[in-house]
């Protein structure tokens, strides 16, 4: 186990120079260290989502057969719900619930009216901006603070750091409902009910998982590297930012992906914490369209759903390699 760890960390460390060029290789290093025991090689193969090829097997030509056809059909069925919403977003609202499966025709086609209506009703552009701000801000703060914290608690072992680490593990199994009422009241009292303050709430509630993942990685970093830096006259702060942080990059990617997926889509926490008269997130805006007891404006709803989905899909198509690797790496450690 320890041998594998060393390889993983050293491999990642070796990549420092070409960090921008070969982040995937570093991710593999992180993976390897998280793997139970068997060689780092096969784990590396697994992380390479591009090529589903078991390590050690001769390359086999891909077959075009019954399975391809079956999965082709299933894939289309899989995207269908999203397509259905997209199609309906161009129809007059009265026809959406009544005939959801009909394509828009001259009578029912309304162009972009639903989008315009949806944006006006929900202030979707503004919600989108706040969601983006909260997500990027929170993830950046979580990454910075928890990686520093994880390094510290690994290097300084005393009652405080040990208790803190145990509490972090504990917090991972506590469901949000347990703290939702008290957390929203505390956030209110401390004036954290705005997009800046909620970053602190996310740091607090999300610290458990991040500290756990970073701490797992820090254990595999050989002490000698840091000691050498310290002997050369680095302060702990310089050591962390110039030596430790670059090594941690693969874990940082994993943690930021997991946290982004959570925070971007989160509904209940911002709903309870934020001052909703001033700030809404995308999920909250969509839920607000449903409103109280009146009928829902299905046209605006369809428009908003499409607007909420498009950025995610674009982001996913660009970063899917990192996202899928991040999920796997996160699962292996979690």
């Amino acid at each position: 186990m320890s041998a594998t760890n060393q390889t993983g960390a050293a491999g990642a460390a070796g990549n420092q120079g070409g960090a921008g060029v070969a982040p995937s290789a570093e991710a593999h290093g992180a993976e390897a260290h998280g793997a139970k025991a068997h060689g780092a090689q096969s784990k590396t193969g697994a992380a390479k989502s591009g090529a589903p090829k078991a390590a050690g097997m001769p390359p086999v030509k891909k077959k075009f057969g019954a399975l391809t056809v079956i999965f082709g059909i299933i894939s289309i069925a899989y995207i269908y719900p999203i397509l259905l919403v997209a199609i309906n977003s161009f129809k007059k609202k009265a026809y959406i619930s009544k005939y959801p499966f009909r394509l828009p025709d001259e009578k029912t086609f309304v162009g972009l009216d639903n989008y315009i209506g949806g944006i006006e009703k929900t202030n979707m552009i503004e919600s989108f901006g706040w969601t983006l701000f909260i997500t990027i801000g929170s993830v950046a703060v979580i990454i910075l603070c928890t990686s520093m914290c994880a390094w510290y608690i690994n290097r300084v072992k005393n009652a405080v750091t040990k208790t803190f680490y145990t509490l972090c593990l504990f917090s991972m199994i506590v469901p949000f409902q347990m703290v939702m009422f008290t957390l929203s009241k505390i956030a209110n009292v401390l004036r954290l009910n705005n997009p800046w303050g909620i970053i602190i709430v996310y740091l607090g509630f999300g610290a458990g998982l991040s500290v756990f993942m970073f701490a797992g990685f820090v254990k595999s970093i050989p002490l000698e590297i840091e000691e050498a830096a310290m002997i050369d006259g680095c302060t702990p702060i310089q050591t962390f930012f110039q030596v430790v942080m670059p090594i941690m990059k693969p874990t940082m990617i994993t943690v930021s992906i997991l946290q982004t997926m959570w925070i971007w889509n989160d509904y209940l926490l911002p709903y309870l914490v934020l001052d909703l008269k001033k700030y809404k997130t995308v999920s909250i805006s969509v839920q607000y369209l449903k409103g109280g007891y009146g009928s829902v404006d299905m046209g605006a709803m369809m428009g908003c759903l499409v607007l909420a989905i498009i950025p995610i899909i674009v982001f996913y198509l660009f970063c899917q390699k990192y996202i899928i690797e991040g999920v796997v790496a996160g699962a292996v450690k979690g």
Binding site: S42, G45, A46, A47, G50, P52, K53, A54, K61, K62, K63, F64, I79, P81, L84, V85, P100, C145, T146, M148, C149, Y152, V156, K157, T161, F164, L167, I173, P175, Q177, V179, M180, T182, L183, L190, I200, V201, L203, G204, F205, A207, V211, N265, D266, Y267, S283, V286, Q287, K290, M298, M301, A308, I309, F315, Y316, Q320, I324, V327, V328, A331
Partner: protein
Amino acid sequence: MDKAIKRYFPVFMLPTLLAFVIGFIAPFILGVYLSFCKFTTINDATFVGLSNFAKIFEDATFGHALWFTALFTVVTVALINVLAFAVAMALTRKIQGANLYRTVFFMPNLIGGIVLGYIWQLLLNGILAHFERTLTYSSVYGFWGLVILLLWQQIGYMMVIYIAGIQNVPGELMEAAKIDGATSAQCLRHVTIPMIMPSVTICTFLTLTNGFKMFDQNLALTNGAPSDMSEMLALNIFNTFYSRSGYEGVGQAKAVVFFLLVAAIALIQTKITSSKEVQQ
């Protein structure tokens, strides 16, 4: 070296520690305390002992939500894991377009629960309209609607974890089994499945807790209709807090029970499946 680092406590540890106290420790301790109190805000709490917990048992909606959630969790854990594993097995063969399919199956995970709920509401209500029903006609429709939604969302996620597990099975082991004359069913049963037990542990854990804690999808798809019959535990707790005045204490007590259930499930499950893991 430790001493040199130690002095930097305010820089390295304090920010996270403070946020953790605000975002977790304080709300948690206060939450446990308030479950023994009657209150409408934190300031007017008066201690009432165990009466909140007693009231949970008089509340029929909680029992129903617990039953509904338990059944839902069992059904989704079984279906998601079996289907995700089957898809992973198929996609690790050399079939054309495997990467494209993986991309498609994983996609719904990135869409939030609220948005997913409304997407499926349109589709399922459209289908049910042919039979002159809606999702909120009876909790049976709500139940299966939620099952389909969660399957759609999570199969891709678990599939990705299973694929990594399957690709991690050493090729030599498979070849050795085949040379010894094992059929592919035997290879699956005696080589692949024991070797991917870590993935099984992770996926069961994730599906169990995700199913049990589900909130957003429930709120968007049925919101508990008809008359709270499709209400799951998390939504039940939320409604007890924010839709019934005077029941905040009971809501907090329910939350404590909910936490204990989630913790118990997580611990027991991890014990059981990790005991089945084999050394590679």
